[in-house]
Symmetry: C2
Subunit: 115 residues, 2 copies
Amino acid sequence: MSISADTLRGHTDTIILAQLMKKDSYGYEINKNVQRCTGGRYEFKEATLYTAFKRLEQGGMITSYWGEDGPGARRRYYAITEEGRQQWQESSEEWKETRIILDALLTLEVEYESN
Amino acid sequence: MSISADTLRGHTDTIILAQLMKKDSYGYEINKNVQRCTGGRYEFKEATLYTAFKRLEQGGMITSYWGEDGPGARRRYYAITEEGRQQWQESSEEWKETRIILDALLTLEVEYESN
DNA sequence: AAGAAATACATTGACAGATGAAGTATATCG
DNA sequence: CGATATACTTCATCTGTCAATGTATTTCTT
């Protein structure tokens, strides 16, 4: 089974931020990581990925720099900012909440209990 | 904390189908149910809700009929079709998969293990 | 009885995120 | 030498969300 994009829509930015929490990285590598982490069930379309980088950079969540000129194609590396770390923190908290709510709404087996 | 719409985008149709799995219902009631189930953390905007009904009906997932003329404003009831039930089944399976994958991607604490 | 609030549905235009498609460039492998 | 992998970029288009606006009825409040 592969995961439809609309289901993950809205999580794109947080997924990228999560990757950058570990270390600076670049588009291609991040996408390979996502593929690996999901057992090949999901990958970003290139346009989605680079659109997200632009959005995140404009929002001050990440900064970018060109990698050293080694062999191979040039890479643009991204680094998460302090603001980005906070954003990731908030988004992943929200995810935990969302998960519970969606369990309730999609299956209707249980009602959501507030704390 | 309330849940941002973008995070739930893509789940709208499945949430509605889940409600209709129980019994026929109408827009206003479904939305009140969603509010109740989420402890007030989420509700559909009206335009979103009625857009979704139209989409689902055009896709053959639901059918609709006007409620009996009782007291109160007229209500358009919706009923889930066999196709809709199958769709709900698939979508909620997908949700279980998605949940695991997003846990991995958003927190990066674990890698997704395929079966 | 008058006015506010709740119930109930519908449409339209604008906006944001995702994406197909196309393009640029280098390195590696057979 | 051609195919494939690596790596980034932009643009036009599509889809779902939603603010705004409108219609209509009933119930609650004073």
